[in-house]
């Protein structure tokens, strides 16, 4: 990918996302969720989206707001049902949204595979469970594995703590979660950060997402929510 662009607005950052796109949305619950990019995506208007994210929205903000706006056709996630996932619950029960449940580690590893050029991999998770149905099974060295395929995104919307002007990223604490993996798995990675610093200001030993994975960066005023409820 060629050099990351530092943009002036979230609207510019989400420009061009097409109807029908697969969008990887960062965050574990609300930690690391790119609220401002999602709000911009709602304004931008792309619809019929497939969203890949760990959860299916909390409360009425972020991903939940995108779902409420009716822009999402399908959700791939590990944990849609939460204490405060009323938006998703309502859509799902009304048959207005499709759901594919993927174990959390498989969600992460399948996106990593997409980013790393791995065609498929044998994974021990979910063997013998209903989520193994329809999957190819194989014994290797006496253990049973399921064949899992990559999950690739057209776009990733993620949140990070800081970017340098080249697009290198660092994160904060457990808000790191899916961001680094999604950045590798999407054709176009769009990042909201709390601050942009000059290239050379981030410790090269501590950069988590190297610039090659980042396409668009926008600085936003940090907004945080705390959720109550189960994962």
């Amino acid at each position: 990918m060629s050099r990351a662009r530092i943009l002036e607005s979230t609207d510019a950052a989400v420009a061009g996302i097409e109807d029908g796109s697969t969008v990887l949305v960062g965050g574990f619950g609300l930690a690391g969720m790119p609220f401002d990019l999602i709000d911009a995506l709602i304004r931008q208007g792309a619809k019929d989206l497939t969203v890949v994210s760990n959860n299916a929205g909390n409360g009425d903000v972020g991903l939940a707001a995108l779902l409420a706006a009716g822009r999402v056709r399908k959700v791939l996630c590990s944990f849609p049902r939460q204490a405060d996932s009323w938006v998703f619950d309502g859509l799902y029960r009304a048959g207005k949204i499709e759901l594919e449940v993927v174990p959390q580690g498989n969600l992460a590893e399948r996106m990593r595979a997409a980013g790393a050029g791995i065609g498929a991999f044998y994974c021990p998770t979910a063997v013998g469970t209903p989520l193994a149905e329809g999957k190819e099974q194989r014994e290797i060295d006496g253990r049973t594995y399921l064949l899992e395929y990559p999950i690739k995104g057209d776009y990733a919307l993620i949140g990070a703590h800081a970017a340098d002007t080249m697009g290198n990223l660092v994160y904060r604490k457990t808000a790191r979660n899916f961001g680094p993996v999604m950045a590798t798995a999407a054709t176009t990675t769009i990042v909201q950060v709390d601050q942009v610093v000059e290239a050379g200001k981030l410790d090269p030993e501590a950069i988590v997402t190297p610039s090659v994975y980042v396409d668009r960066v926008v600085q936003v005023t940090a907004r945080h929510y705390t959720v109550r409820g189960a994962r």
Partner: protein, 220 residues
């Protein structure tokens, strides 16, 4: 646990969930790397001795997690897998989700303690889905945790509110993992499970004989 409807009727003292958490904390070897599932298992952290050297893993990307955060220490960027704000201990490390689950799947954690709907005598685990038609399925990290740690312990009440045993010959709920549980800690007793079947380790407030009859197992 003071008398839920389904528990044995013996006069003895069954363990409260807090007492049970203390029992599990006692059994976790010093220096272990441990993942405590959301819900009841989280309580175990409060019972680990300060010098246990146990390091807690949370699958959303952290090792050496500290206690729940209170007041000003609450940081929305620092939560456990249950999305509860927590703290960090000296020597903590952060990593992304693929690395976190690689750590688990690769067998690097010593112990994982999970809640359960049902455990089978052979170690099958059901804790993610009731299988009821109206329910929205949600698995989270349960299946990854189930197959990941070297030892998977379950912490649960032994009976449902309506008196059905949750330690069963064969799970009727959809499985989370096959043959993955090695030990089951309950208010009424502790059990080893696995390929050789179920074995009672200790009992609380109820005789082994009565327990065996309620569960339909044979004592050695």
């Amino acid at each position: 646990m003071t008398g839920y409807a389904g528990a044995p009727t013996g006069a003895g003292h069954r363990l409260s969930m807090d007492e049970l958490a203390a029992v599990i904390a006692r059994d976790i070897p010093a220096g272990s790397f441990v993942n405590l599932g959301i819900g009841q298992p989280t309580r175990i952290a409060d019972h680990l001795p300060a010098d246990s050297g146990v390091v807690l893993h949370t699958e959303n990307g952290m090792l050496n997690m500290g206690p729940k955060a209170e007041g000003d220490a609450i940081d929305p960027d620092l939560t456990n897998a249950g999305k509860v704000p927590v703290t960090e201990l000296p020597g903590a490390a952060y990593f992304h989700h693929a690395d976190s689950f690689a750590m688990m799947r690769g067998g690097h954690l010593d112990v994982c303690v999970l809640g359960a709907y049902q455990v089978a005598f052979d170690g099958d685990l059901a804790n993610w889905h009731t299988g009821k038609p109206g329910d929205i399925p949600a698995v989270g990290g349960a299946m990854d945790l189930a197959i990941g740690a070297k030892e998977v312990y379950v912490m649960m009440t032994l009976f449902t509110r309506s008196g059905e045993p949750k330690l069963v010959p064969r799970c009727t709920y959809p499985l989370t993992g096959a043959g993955c549980v090695s030990r089951v800690y309950t208010d009424c007793g502790v059990f080893d499970v696995g390929p050789d079947g179920v074995r009672i380790r200790e009992t609380y407030g109820v005789g082994a004989q009565e327990l065996a009859e309620r569960l339909g197992i044979t004592l050695p």
